[in-house]
């Protein structure tokens, strides 16, 4: 059995206004695997992701790489779990690509040369090195998404968490983007309702509905279960 890197036991979370978002999530993520979290809009995918680096803390036990999520452990956890948010405009908030990709490493307290190394390496990995001095505003959506990944890679995380990574991409850039995801050798957790993306990038799937995990299994097994997918709104019911 592979090492467990994320362990979630009976996770409940309600928004401040009382709306229940997650009710009783149990989930394990293994080292090196690529887990797809699928579910319809509002099923709780994004909320679940926010628990993976302690942005949100529900009532339960979440263990990341063996650590409990406590204030003391937060910097350690955030350095190793890189979350890439859906809208790259929110992920890229600094005036230049360099400053943005260097934001994480600088917060880790690295020296100038080390930060430059990390930025160059991360941008190289997503093929965006020539854009170092550009302002994020001048990039295309596809380029922004790539830089967004680099902003997290520069911190050398062990787990990559992506929220709807393929949204707003045209077919060509989507193709390239999937290629990039396949190339990255890390534990990946991808929340999406893009089933094609899941087929290409994930080995295992967890299906989420109304804050509960209703099915977990191998990608092929879940995606062949037409009834299950229809029931939870992942594919349109055939007439």
């Amino acid at each position: 059995m592979d090492k467990i890197v994320i362990e979630i036991r009976n996770l409940h979370y309600s928004y401040p206004d009382g709306t229940k978002a997650l009710s009783g999530i149990d989930l394990e993520v293994f080292e090196g695997e690529s887990l797809g979290i699928i579910g319809s809009n509002g099923s709780g995918k994004s909320t679940l992701l926010l628990h993976l680096n302690g942005i949100l803390r529900g009532t339960s036990q979440v263990k990341i790489l063996g650590w409990d999520i406590t204030d003391k452990n937060l910097p350690l956890i955030r350095r190793r779990v890189g979350i890439i948010f859906q809208d790259p405009e929110n992920q890229l908030f600094m005036p230049t690509v360099f400053d943005d990709v260097g934001f994480g490493p600088m917060n880790m307290g690295l020296k100038k040369e080390k930060v430059e190394d990390a930025v160059n390496r991360a941008l190289e990995e997503v093929d965006m090195l020539p854009f170092l001095k550009r302002s994020p505003h001048h990039l295309s959506v596809g380029e922004k998404k790539r830089v967004a990944i680099a902003t997290v890679l520069s911190m050398e995380p062990e787990i990559l968490v992506l929220d709807e990574p393929s949204s707003n991409l045209d077919p060509k850039h989507r193709r390239e983007f999937i290629g990039l995801l396949q190339k990255l050798q890390l534990t990946k957790i991808i929340a999406t309702h893009d089933l094609d993306l899941v087929v290409e990038t994930c080995s295992r799937i967890a299906l989420l509905d109304e804050g509960r995990i209703v099915a977990v299994g191998k990608t092929a097994d879940i995606l062949q279960n037409r009834l299950l997918l229809e029931d939870y709104g992942m594919i349109a019911r055939s007439p």
């Binding site: 908030f93 934001f103 302002s135 911190m155």
Partner: protein
């Protein structure tokens, strides 16, 4: 969508582009302080200040049209404040207008102050435009940070630079959506929709700010944004600074002799 950028001439490879941003900021401040503190009647001094800026403009390779357009943006503010100054009380009446029962008198003292405000404002503005147009905004921020400008201000300016065009885009899209559905109807209804859009824009910006903050926290933000700079003062920079200061002091000295 296309936007006019603040710093579109920051990378044309001119002499002004290559200067250390810190040197530019210091020179700018010195220039403005000297201009503002000049005796209003020292006309030659103002001409010489103008000459310095003209030389800098040539060195910056910024089209005159661009500079004039920028100046025009600020012109209403200057004129609004300066418009009533010529009618101030004074000893020497130059001209009097009779407007029914009211007589407006233009005085010599008033005119002098009017000229003073106009000349100083325009020169300072021109100087500021030259400096900001030749410096990339991120560089300018780093220069300000190195010169001990408070970090909160730097952060606010930095986020403004990053997100202002996005807010503009959002507003444009909302207006297009509104225009697509507005067919006829009374004028006040359009105004009402516009007010709603302004509110919506605020809420969206507020929500975006929250998302951005989450993204910052996820990458280990601890309350301070750190950045690196690659500034290095060269002999050229030092020479520029020296020239500016010598010229400014020289002009002050000359006008003191003649005045």
């Amino acid at each position: 969508m296309e936007h006019g950028f603040l710093d579109q001439y920051s990378n044309v490879g001119s002499f002004m582009n290559r200067l250390d941003p810190r040197i530019k900021v210091v020179s700018l401040l010195a220039f403005i302080i000297f201009v503002v503190s000049t005796n209003p009647a020292a006309f030659q001094a103002f001409a010489l200040y103008g000459l310095i800026l003209a030389v800098l403009t040539v060195l910056s390779r910024i089209p005159i049209g661009y500079i004039l357009k920028r100046m025009l943006v600020a012109a209403p503010f200057i004129l609004m404040t300066a418009l009533f100054i010529p009618f101030m009380q004074g000893k020497t009446v130059v001209h009097a207008f009779a407007l029914g029962p009211v007589t407006l008198t233009v005085t010599r003292e008033g005119l002098l102050i009017f000229w003073n405000v106009l000349a100083k404002a325009s020169l300072s503005l021109l100087c500021a435009i030259l400096m900001t147009a030749t410096t990339g905004f991120p560089e300018l921020l780093k220069a300000l940070e190195k010169l001990r400008c408070p970090q909160v201000i730097i952060m606010v300016l930095s986020f403004m630079y990053r997100y202002i065009f996005l807010v503009q885009d959002e507003f444009m899209k909302m207006r297009q959506a509104k225009d697509s559905r507005s067919v006829g109807g009374p004028q006040w209804l359009h105004l009402k929709a516009l007010a709603g859009m302004a509110g919506m824009l605020f809420i969206r910006s507020y929500e975006r700010a929250e998302s951005v903050y989450l993204a910052m926290c996820s990458r280990g933000f601890g309350g301070r944004i750190q950045t690196f700079h690659h500034f290095q003062v060269t002999i050229k920079d030092a020479a520029f600074l020296l020239t500016i200061f010598v010229s400014l002091i020289g002009i002050r000295f000359l006008s003191a002799i003649h005045g």
